[in-house]
């Protein structure tokens, strides 16, 4: 039997004449954190949308925890969750109300207890009765993460999870994600522009450019392969198509 938590085979998505991603294939083993890296327009959000079943691929297949996300996504959805800066929680509801609604949608047992537990761990207890729209960007990010963890997901897809956070809070979130993946044995796929974050959290990295995966490996492997000292330089090599130059040198 497969031990893959996420499996994408030959994913292609076309919007009319525009090809957003082309022939994307990768597999993520259960447990651990995998990074999805790429510049703007590389195809990260399109890939994540297809993994979630929000977007249908033009071609190819996605399996999450063994479930085909086109035909049987309702088997997988209770076991996964996501957070993205592209979607919001209703601003007029309080944090507690939003988390309660999502607790019910995910059929969480004892949702109030789970909300209290998450609020304490993510340091949002004092925010619970404030309207979500009144929160700062950093506070909203933590609340969005609380929503993403409400059902103890086995597969967590995160798009820019530390965007707009100050370095201290961002570091604190990264520590929490590391702990969550380890304690729960969860699989996290993380799309990020923050190279330090990826180097620290991810055991495996998928590099995207122009709608395809152009390289993959552990951060250490990529640094060795490109002869660079940090992942940001690797990212620039790939984003600026300096790969052949680097390889030649």
């Amino acid at each position: 039997m497969s031990t893959l938590a996420i499996e994408a085979r030959n994913l292609t998505k076309k919007f009319g004449e525009i090809t957003a991603i082309q022939d994307v294939s990768f597999a993520v083993e259960g447990g651990g954190i995998t990074g999805l890296l790429g510049g703007n327009g590389a195809g990260k959000t399109t890939t994540i949308s297809i993994l979630l079943g929000l977007l249908l691929p033009s071609d190819g297949e996605v399996r999450i925890l063994g479930c085909d996300m086109v035909r049987e996504r309702y088997r997988a959805l209770p076991l996964m969750n996501f957070s993205s800066p592209y979607v919001d929680l209703p601003h007029r509801l309080t944090v507690r109300e939003n988390l309660r609604v999502y607790g019910e949608l995910y059929s969480v047992e004892k949702p109030e207890a789970r909300i209290a537990e998450l609020a304490e761990r993510l340091d949002v207890t004092t925010l619970l009765d404030r309207r979500t729209g009144q929160l700062s960007a950093g506070q909203k990010t933590r609340v969005a993460l609380a929503k993403a963890l409400i059902n103890r997901p086995r597969v967590l897809l995160l798009d820019e999870p530390t965007a707009s956070l100050d370095p201290d809070t961002a570091d604190w979130i990264r520590t929490y994600l590391e702990d969550y993946a380890r304690e729960e044995g969860a699989t996290i796929l993380l799309a990020s522009h923050h190279m330090g974050e990826v180097e620290r959290l991810c055991g495996h990295v998928l590099m995207m450019r122009g709608g395809g995966i152009v390289d993959r490996g552990s951060p250490a492997d990529l640094l060795t392969r490109y002869g660079r000292s940090d992942l940001e330089e690797v990212f620039l090599d790939i984003a600026r198509d300096r790969v052949s130059t680097v390889a030649a040198s």
Partner: protein, 276 residues
């Protein structure tokens, strides 16, 4: 792998809990917003007061109205019920779009069918909240109660609610397809049905060709049925059956349009992008 969702998770069926979660979400929204509640009750109440006085005036000047006291108020209250049903349904969806929440909702286990049923429940609750003050005031000021005409009138009420849901599904299908630029349809779509619903006059008043169109709307059966109750004191089962039959067609078309536009939104990535 023993933890594979495919092997261990049952196919999640229809969930009342998820439907009630969405009802809860909109209850929270209304509870925290007095202007929203006032807006729901404002227009039906104003309409009822105006038409109540018009009725009082015509009582002394028109034998037709004098013989069927309350027919105008009844028509107004029922028309508002249809409008509230459709707008209540559509507003729940628009609230999700305005708050950019659709992406979160549809990566949760919530199914589109459960979402639609939750909107129906909310439309019913919003309709009751919006219309209750006008019903109470109609009784207090004009001694008019639609319920005094028996349970048959409640059956006609229900038909109007269902018609509102069918139209609501069609409206949100268009909003899903064309984006928030089409949201004004939620407010105006219903008025295209006003002339052919025979709200204030019998269907026979219309030109013959338009009568055929009118009988394709559930509301025409309902308002004819209402007049039969008010004027003749007769409950017309044939009109109720007609309304139910045409409503089934409206529901099927509305559900089909919604399913098509939802699939199209998944094809084009609109669920993640939609918002203010």
């Amino acid at each position: 792998m023993s933890e594979l969702a495919r092997d261990r998770a049952p196919v999640p069926g229809f969930s009342t809990r998820r439907i009630m979660a969405m009802v809860r979400r909109h209850y929270y929204l209304l509870r925290g917003s007095l202007p929203r509640i006032l807006e729901m009750a404002y227009w039906p109440t104003v309409q009822m007061v105006i038409w109540g006085f018009v009725t009082q005036f015509f009582m002394g000047h028109s034998s037709w109205v004098a013989n069927a006291a309350g027919i105008l108020i009844g028509a107004v209250l029922l028309w508002d019920l249809l409008f509230r049903s459709q707008i209540g349904f559509s507003m729940c969806f628009l609230e999700e779009m305005w708050s950019r929440n659709l992406g979160h909702l549809f990566v949760s286990p919530l199914k589109p069918s459960e979402f639609v049923i939750a909107m129906m429940v909310m439309s019913l609750l919003r309709g009751i909240i919006g219309l209750l003050p006008s019903w109470v005031l109609a009784y207090v000021f004009f001694e008019f109660s639609v319920f005094s005409y028996g349970p048959g009138i409640v059956a006609f009420f229900s038909c109007l609610f269902v018609m509102g849901w069918g139209l609501g599904m069609a409206v949100i299908a268009l909003v899903l397809r064309f984006g928030l630029g089409a949201e004004s349809l939620a407010w105006v779509a219903i008025f295209a049905f006003a002339p052919i619903s025979a709200v204030y006059y019998p269907v026979s008043t219309l030109p013959e060709w338009l009568q055929i169109v009118a009988w394709c709307t559930p509301s025409a059966y309902v308002f004819e049925g209402m007049r039969a109750v008010f004027i003749d004191g007769v409950f017309r089962t044939d009109l109720l059956m007609g309304a139910i039959g045409v409503n089934l067609v409206y529901l099927a078309i509305g559900a089909g349009l919604f399913a098509w536009s939802f699939a199209s939104a998944r094809q084009h990535g609109r669920l993640l992008q939609m918002g203010e």
